[in-house]
Structure formats: structure tokens, C-alpha cells
Amino acid sequence: MFSAKSVENALMNQGLILNVGLFSFNIQSSIRSLSHNVTTLYQDYPDGFSEDRARFIDFHICVEPPNLWHKYYKGQVQFFSDGFAPFTPLPYQHAPAIIEWGMNWCVSQLINTHLIIHAAVIEKNGFAAIMPAPPGSGKSTLTASLVQEGWRLLSDELTLIRIDNYQVSPFPRPISLKNQSINVIKQRYPDVVFGIESTDTSKGTVVHIRPPKLSIELQGVECPVAWVIFPKYEEDAETELTIKSKAKSLMDVADNSFNYSRLGVIGFDVLKNIIEGADCYQFRYSQLDEAIDAFAALELPQ
């Protein structure tokens, strides 16, 4: 296991190589809070902090102030991928969140071997449940709870579906929690390891939690999709799992996809096959216990 000091040294020098799912990231940064967060959240990755510089690196990324003006006067840092900055500079204290958002950006914008959907995806009994939802739907809170209740985390943010065999490729990264969700998960699952909070971001307070160890150990194991579930948290709502039409489900998944348009008809064929083979539901909930029970009761494919 890498120590905090060795992670910090690697980040400040040649870079820290992090292998997550199918992808290798080389991360550089001189920001101490980021180094602390990476050590906390990624230390369980079995093939994670690698020193093997001979292997192919998919993404060379860094978080640094873009110049001295931003560093000393504005107190801002910026995310770079191969020298390109997709986001504007943000406050220094947001660095732990910026690196996670940046890693999402790399995969969602630059990978076309998979159909990429803005959705959480979890697995049980060899089958995946995809949960596409816009921000504020309670997707991450639900995901964080379900993975503490026996579901395997494949991804909290990006569902990657291979275009050649329609299987989900795991990309298990720390789960992002925001605002009230943070305390909900802290109280329900006191053993969950939290990273550093980034306050006053555009999304409010953001913190990432360490994924379960088993999800990381199985990050090479792909699986087919059995369920497409559109979750929606609504205060005081009764738990309700209702069948959603396949056509509407296809359209809504396409709307939540990053590269459906880029893939053209290949994207359509992937989605058609996924929706064809899956049970599609709209899911409304307010009580996590009931939501967990509803997921446990999902029927396995015949």
C-alpha cells in the first residue's frame, strides 16, 4: 500500500498512476488537500497506485493554478487534461472535487468504445441496474446506500456500455455526495470513509466516499443489463416502482448519454439492445429503507 507521503511525492513529481476500470490516469498536482483525498479514497485499488510507467496511460491530468496571478491573487486552480483546460479556474479548496469532475470529463468526452450514460450503475447476482437521472434526483444517495447493502458499485456517475457486446464495463470510483445527502449517509453507515468536503461549489457542499473494497476488486468483471430504473427522490413520496414504456426509456437514456449523438447509429443499436433486454421502471421514493427493499425485490431475468 502506498503511504500518504509517497502519494504526495508521486503527485508532485512524475505523477501518480491510477488504474480505474479500463483506464489509466497519470495525475499530477502540488495541492496537498488533493493528495490527502486521493490517498484516502483510492488506497484500496489493488492495481491502483502503480509505478509501472511502461504501460499505456489513457489520460495525463493535473490540477494546478494556471498561472501566478490565479495562484497568489485569485487563489484558484484549474483542471488540465493533456494540457487542455475544459473548465474555468475554481477556488483552491475545491481541488479534491475538481479532480473527480475532471476524471469524469475525460471519460465522458474522450471515450467512444462505449456508450456512456450519465447514470449510476450497480450489480447483483450478475446483472446490472442502470439508474439514469438528472442532478437532484437522489441517485447518488440511493447508490451509496445500495452498495452498502450488498450491491456492487460499477459506477456512480458514468455507465459504460461496450458497443461490441452491450456489457457494462465497471468504472468504480468514489461516490459523490452533496449537501443533505452527506449527513444521511454518515448517520446510516458510520463505517463509510469520507474524503475532504469541498464547500461552496456550484453544487453546494460536495464530498466523495470510498467505494466498497469488493467493488474495486471486481472492477474487471463486466455484466449484462437487466434493469433500467429512473429514480426520483420526492419528499414524503410513497415508494413506487412503475413500469416505464420502452420507447420512452430509450429516449430518456439517450437524453442522459454523453456520446449517443457522436456514435450515431451504433449508439442507437446499443440502446435498442439494452432496452430490449431490460425491465424499465420509473422509481419514486422518500424512504431509503423502502427503496432498498424495492431493489432487493427486483425480479431476475429468466
Binding site: S245, K246, A247, K248, L250, M251, A254, S261, G264, V265, F268, D269, K272, I275, E276
Partner: protein, 91 residues
């Protein structure tokens, strides 16, 4: 008037019950159309030029239970829908 129409581009389809999802290769757009009988889609997606009369005949076959008035209304709405999403064009 008996206008002629043709499909504007190759399409890919997914059918689930009465719902059809259409991926239009030319514009890379996806559309859902509900409650269209297979006879009508067979005509529209045949790749051949078809006329208003062909359209009416396909509706006669696909929806024989409708009255002439209902068939006329249905044809008018469907045609407008297919033209608006630029799946077919008048030639």
C-alpha cells in the same frame, strides 16, 4: 390533390408493441411514433416513392375499423407529424 412523398434518409427502427422508435441516419435524430400500424410503416420505410393514395390504402389495410372520416383525420395528423420531423418530404 395526390402528392408524392419519399423517405429523406435511411432509418433504423425499434418496435415495442404500439411504440416505434426511429433513428434517422441523415439527421442523427431519434423519434418516437405511437399507434402506427405496420402496413403504414411498411409503406413509409419501403424506400420507394409513395403517394397520398398509397398512404390512404395502407391506412385502409392497417386500421380497417376506422370510419372514412377518422381515416382522413388520422392520415392528416400522421403526415404532418412525419413531415415536421423531416422523416419524409414532398417531392
Amino acid at each position: 390533390m395526390n402528392l408524392n412523398y419519399c423517405l429523406t434518409s435511411v432509418v433504423s427502427l425499434a418496435h415495442w408493441g404500439k411504440e416505434t422508435v426511429i433513428y434517422h441516419h441523415g439527421s442523427a435524430t431519434t423519434h418516437v411514433i405511437n399507434d402506427v400500424p405496420s402496413e403504414v410503416f411498411a409503406l413509409v420505410f419501403s424506400g420507394k416513392i409513395f403517394s397520398d393514395r398509397d398512404f390512404s390504402a395502407s391506412i385502409d389495410k392497417g386500421l380497417p375499423e376506422l370510419t372514412q372520416q377518422e381515416k382522413g383525420n388520422y392520415l392528416s395528423i400522421l403526415k404532418k407529424q412525419l413531415l415536421v420531423i423531416e422523416l419524409i418530404e414532398i417531392i
